[in-house]
């Protein structure tokens, strides 16, 4: 008799641990032939708040890592994905991608991480500067990470789009609470396992699976989320902007209805890093 394989119980990666939803709710996803594949955690608002708490704990430590160290950790995340590229491509193919398209998406994801790994110790040199004020002060403007960033990934490109939104935020020392694609959540489950082996401190990236309509109001109004970076439809954009007003939250809302070429070089930029930075200016007297 053939051996019965062991199937994996998908869990989300939050606070450096693999957890089920506190609600014990799940939703099924299917395999290539439409057969049952696995149950995915259907995370709740409470899970989101817990994830924000985990991100808050991890934040100061991550922001204090040296830029060189953050760069190496992002690079190692790339290594971890590259090493399991086949498995990740299979996960993307669950959503209907061809083998070639899935392989392209994994490769582009790794390259995107390497791109941002290289920025960690350079963006400050490009974005900050000394200001020649007309008085005897040494005046300089530097950047600082905003804090905890809420990410809402689109349904398409379930790995690449998610990483394209997360990577620029953590490059500078932000922490992230991200909601993965609702229709293709499994790559995010696998990504959690790769994050766990990447030297990225637990809580820096927290991945949730579930449904936008349940979570979007909490993303909008949670005051500890200092910015939202999302690909969302018109109704969701309005809901996020309305909630964001309550705590003057920064919103970077891309339109879900627009065509996004996540594979293109234009999907990665210095400006994406800048979106989750604050500029801080310090005046220091010059004198004896």
């Amino acid at each position: 008799m053939a051996r019965l394989p062991i199937t994996k119980t998908p869990k989300v990666y939050v606070g450096g641990a693999f957890i089920r939803s506190e609600s014990a709710r799940v939703f099924p996803i299917t395999g290539f032939a439409g057969e049952f594949f696995a149950n995915i955690p259907q995370c709740t608002r409470k899970d989101l708040r817990n994830a924000v708490e985990a991100a808050a704990k991890a934040g100061p430590g991550w922001a204090k890592r040296t830029a060189y160290n953050r760069g190496q950790i992002l690079y190692r995340l790339g290594e971890m994905i590259e090493a399991r590229a086949g498995e990740m491509a299979d996960a993307i193919m669950l959503g209907g991608a061809t083998p070639a398209a899935a392989a392209r998406e994994v490769a582009a994801t790794v390259d995107r991480l390497i791109y941002y790994a290289g920025w960690t110790d350079k963006y400050e040199q490009v974005l900050g500067n000394v200001n020649p004020v007309a008085a005897p002060y040494f005046n300089f403007t530097v950047t600082e990470p905003m804090g905890i960033i809420g990410v809402i990934a689109p349904d398409e490109a379930p790995l690449l789009a998610l990483i394209s939104l997360i990577a620029p935020a953590i490059t500078s020392g932000n922490t992230v609470v991200a909601l993965a694609s609702s229709t293709q959540p499994y790559p995010a489950i696998l990504l959690g396992e790769m994050l766990a082996t990447s030297d990225l401190p637990g809580g820096v990236v927290n991945l949730l699976t579930g449904f936008r309509k349940e979570l979007i109001s909490t993303f909008a109004t949670h005051t500890h989320l200092r910015a939202i970076s999302a690909v969302v439809n018109a109704e969701e954009r309005k809901a996020l902007a309305l909630g964001a007003a309550d705590s003057v939250k920064r919103t970077h809302l891309r339109k879900a209805e627009d065509k996004h070429d996540w594979l293109a070089d234009s999907a990665q930029s210095l400006e994406a890093i800048r979106e989750t930075l604050e500029f801080k200016t310090t005046w220091h007297p010059v004198g004896a």
Binding site: N131, V133, K238, A241, V248, E278, P285
Partner: protein, 504 residues
């Protein structure tokens, strides 16, 4: 190098430890002769809207009075804009963007801005007098700060207009189009300059609404735009109160809106724009911590505390309204501070000796009075010097509260008046914790002799501007703006231009 004199000095200060040196307190005991500024502000009896390069009467035919808060006398009538006037202003701005300004080479835009800076410098004294009459700030501040700084903003940004390739390295930038702006009453002319100069340098055109109590210097600036030959419609001023501001903010034409004002109104604007694609800059309220460590140069720090909270009657979003003093020097700082406050001259803003002028409006005076009453009720120990206040006009004595708890309203809410709350701390970590324990994050001050501590504090404070051993310093090259509920976007410097462009 240790010398006999130096050791003598330190012995003397050891004797005095905890007890301030005797000082001559002048205060009101010594009458100063009046030193009034008397230049002609060249005010018109009636100010119209400035739309499409011309002064035009409002379509509704209505006007409101602008009064001098120092004596409550009427200065001029200001046009009250209606929705049709706001439409006309935006139509003019759009025409100017499409037809002229958006196409003009940066080099030529620069020349207009340079002209504006120079013409404003020419008429600096006249503008300073007008600003003080209309807003109530001391003449020495409008003369030495507001007007020259406004001119400096135009001059600085003029030079960017043909160098925009250097704003966002690796990228090309383009103007956004028409911009709608609403500014507050605390620095009427300067806020005009902060808003207009970067917008125009980048190639945008503007509809701007000044605050209803302080419209005059904006409309005088419009005279300069005419003298400078600025193409019609590039800048349009519509005047009135909140409903005009709402019409400017919610109009469908602008690609971007920029607002400086209270956090409360900022949130209303953000909600109003939810679901649109408009870009925003928000420069909102603050409750800045001014932190004095025990190794700070105390006399200098006391000057900085006074400048931090009493500059412009405390009508400053970045005012150092929460003083955090290290416990070991708290008594000494408080004693010196009280002595210093006794010497502040409160009164006629037009007098060159005046330190604290008139509160901008009766409404603001009432708000300050209410919050101070709450501070007393909540158990803060209040100190006010015994200075005489003019019989007419809106005035408030410089006020400090000691023994204030973190939860007290005077320690949490933006008062926007000459009211300082004093709290103490023991360790660096406690100072950081208390300083950051606020929804605001605009600015902060740090007073210490230790360079490494300044840099640590600057890193840890969640504020957009940190002043070390100084306070309330501004410069066109220095980006200004907040963290958290103090808003987003920057004004000034290279970074400020990023908020008025799109990357192409």
């Amino acid at each position: 190098m240790p010398t006999l004199t130096a050791s003598k000095k330190s012995n003397r200060s050891a004797v005095r430890a905890g007890r301030p040196a005797p000082e001559l307190i002048l205060g009101d005991l010594w009458e100063f002769d009046p030193a009034p500024e008397s230049a002609d502000p060249k005010l018109k009896a009636r100010y119209e809207l400035f739309i499409d390069g011309k002064f035009v009467a409002p379509k509704g035919g209505r006007y409101f009075d602008s009064i001098n808060p120092a004596n409550e006398q009427k200065l001029a009538e200001i046009a009250l804009a209606g929705p049709a006037d706001v439409d006309a202003a935006y139509a003019a701005a759009q025409r100017a963007y499409d037809g002229v300004w958006g196409k003009l080479p940066g080099r030529e835009r620069a020349k207009y801005l340079y002209r504006i800076a120079r013409l404003l410098q020419d008429r600096a004294r006249e503008f300073a007098v007008a600003e003080t009459l209309d807003g109530g700030k001391p003449i020495k501040e409008s003369r030495d700060f507001d007007v020259p700084m406004a001119a400096a903003h135009f001059f600085y940004h003029a030079g960017w207009a043909d160098k925009l390739d250097y704003v966002a390295p690796g990228r090309k930038v383009a103007p956004l189009g028409v911009v709608g702006q609403v500014i507050p009453w605390n620095f009427p002319l300067l806020m005009c300059a902060w808003k207009l100069a970067p917008a125009l340098a980048m190639g945008n055109t503007v509809v701007l609404k000044p605050a209803e109590t302080t419209s005059i210097t904006a409309l005088k600036l419009a005279e300069i735009f005419q003298d400078a030959g600025l193409p019609p419609g590039v800048v349009n001023f519509v005047t009135g109160a909140g409903e005009v501001g709402a019409a400017v903010m919610n109009h469908p034409t602008p690609a971007k809106i920029a607002f400086t004002g209270s956090t409360e109104v900022g949130k209303i604007i953000m909600r109003g724009l939810a679901g649109t694609d408009k870009k925003m800059t928000m420069e909102l309220g603050g409750k800045a911590a001014n932190i004095v460590f025990d190794d700070a140069p105390i006399d200098q720090a006391v000057e900085g505390i006074v400048n931090g909270i009493f500059f412009n009657q405390g009508h400053v979003c970045c005012a150092g309204s929460r003083l955090l003093v290290q416990e070991s020097v708290a008594a000494k700082v408080l004693a010196k501070l009280k002595n210093r406050i006794r010497t502040l001259r409160v009164g006629d803003p037009m007098d060159k000796n005046t330190d604290i002028g008139a509160i901008n409006s009766r409404e603001q005076l009432d708000k300050i009075t209410r919050l101070v009453a709450a501070g007393v009720k909540e158990g803060g120990e209040m100190f006010q010097p015994a200075c005489k206040l003019p019989a007419k006009g809106f005035y408030f004595r410089p006020t400090i509260f000691s023994g204030v708890s973190m939860s007290s309203r005077v320690a949490r809410e933006e008062i926007f008046g000459p009211v300082l709350s004093i709290l103490t701390f023991r360790t660096v970590d406690e100072a950081i914790e208390k300083a950051n324990n606020t929804a605001y994050g605009l600015s902060a001050g740090v007073w210490t002799d230790k360079g490494s501590r300044i840099l640590k504090m600057s890193t840890e404070l969640k504020a957009g501007v940190v002043w070390a051993n100084t306070y309330n310093k501004f410069d066109p090259t220095s980006p200004f703006g907040g963290y958290k509920e103090s808003g987003f976007g920057r004004e000034g410097g290279r970074q400020g231009l990023l908020d008025y462009c799109k990357l192409v």
